[in-house]
């Protein structure tokens, strides 16, 4: 925030808070790390404190905690089926981490770590590698039949197989860019219109109202993108388990 020129993109600047240097590698604790830490704490508190009483008839907080659990469990069951249960803790952690990262980023002047391509790409790459290894270990050489569309004539294979391979390899890119671009665009737009509020003086009420509406939309998108990232991960796991 405290930049010199306050451009709409300055909010994404990484600022080291505690400099850490291990063997020449810069592992500084930054505002992004702080946001991740706060996310971890928030998710943990939300679930652990919410469930601490574990009552038979849940209160509001406990209901929300249970709801998040049942939401992800239902998602996994619908897309992967019962085989997906062993991946549930990972999927649930992924969903809650992205969701809280997105939502906490909506707090004014908070940092949104999901608006950085390197973070989303790292997550997408881990998902991609995990899913690919899962498929290779489960199906061995048959995994490569995944790139042959079922029922396609042999004549079309030279054309179709490269397309399938490219679309498979582009999964981590599309998965990461979708989340990153949504967060980037939303936060940039909010900042641009916030600039208008100041610049227009009394007429700034109009962009202010727009910001209010946009904030609501962004909260929806924060949820939606966490959902999309999770459901795509589930679908990839399903592909890995069942091929086609």
């Amino acid at each position: 925030m405290a930049g010199e020129k306050h451009g709409p993109l300055d909010q994404f600047t990484i600022k080291p808070l505690v400099s850490i240097d291990i063997g020449g590698a810069d592992l500084s604790f930054t505002n992004s790390s702080l946001a991740m830490l706060i996310t971890v704490l928030s998710v943990s508190l939300f679930l652990v404190v919410g469930m601490s009483r574990g009552r038979l008839v849940p209160g509001r907080w406990q209901s929300m905690a249970e709801l998040s659990y049942e939401f992800v469990a239902g998602l996994l069951k619908e897309t992967v089926g019962n085989e997906g249960r062993r991946y549930f803790p990972w999927i649930f952690t992924l969903f809650m981490f992205i969701l809280f990262g997105n939502l906490l980023g909506m707090i004014p002047s908070a940092f949104t770590f999901t608006s950085h391509i390197v973070v989303t790409f790292a997550m997408a790459l881990v998902v991609f590698l995990f899913v690919t290894l899962l498929a290779v270990f489960k199906h061995g050489i048959r995994f490569f039949s995944f790139f042959v569309p079922p029922g396609a004539p042999k004549l079309m294979w030279p054309l179709l197989i490269p397309i399938e391979v490219i679309s498979y390899l582009s999964r981590p890119v599309s998965l990461s860019v979708r989340l990153f671009a949504n967060m980037l665009a939303g936060h940039t737009l909010l900042k641009v219109f916030a600039g208008f509020v100041v610049a227009l003086g009394a007429a700034g009420v109009v962009p202010l109202l727009f910001i209010v509406a946009l904030t609501g939309l962004e909260i929806l998108i924060a949820f939606l993108q966490a959902y999309v990232f999770t459901i795509l991960t589930c679908l990839y796991i399903n592909d890995a388990l069942h091929l086609h």
Partner: protein, 162 residues
């Protein structure tokens, strides 16, 4: 765009991301998820137990209802039998009472008729005596002398047709 310019922060971001994610995973895996699962399972068990109990109670209630209806039907039958018996008793009693009354009335009527007949006979007999005396008195006035009671009686008997 800082996302593509601050390449020197990439390593730090990824390392902290991995750290944060793993810590969150461990916390959820060891504390939060077992708790949620246990709570949900306890609730499901409890609901199923309640449903079972409700089913048992329902069956019991149905049995009790059937027993109650049987008892009611039996009671109704018995009541009907009692009523029927009472009505027949009443009818029999009424019939005997009626007969007794009728017998007594017939006796009374018979006695009364006998009394009436006796009274008439007596009256008729008295009239004969009076008639004989009238004949004697009339004969005395007409002929100036008494006639024997016997001839007067004969005369009366002769004119009266008994």
């Amino acid at each position: 765009m800082p996302q593509l310019q601050q390449i020197d922060t990439f390593l730090s971001q990824v390392v902290w991301l991995v750290l944060a994610f793993v810590v969150l995973f461990v916390v959820l895996r060891t504390i939060a998820l077992p708790k949620i699962q246990a709570t949900l399972e306890a609730r499901r068990d409890r609901i199923e137990g309640d449903l079972d109990r409700a089913q048992t109670l329902r069956r019991e209630a149905e049995q009790v209802l059937a027993e109650y209806e049987a008892a009611m039907a039996e009671g109704r039958d018995r009541a009907q039998a009692v009523i029927r018996g009472a009505v027949e008793d009443g009818k029999a009693q009424a019939a005997t009472a009626h007969e007794a009354l009728a017998g007594r009335l017939a006796d009374d009527i018979g006695r009364a008729e006998a009394r009436i007949a006796a009274a008439r006979d007596e009256a008729v007999a008295n009239i004969r005596d009076v008639a004989v005396e009238v004949v004697q008195a009339a004969a005395q006035r007409l002929i100036g002398g008494r006639i024997a009671r016997k001839s007067a009686t004969d005369a009366v008997d002769a004119v009266s047709d008994g």
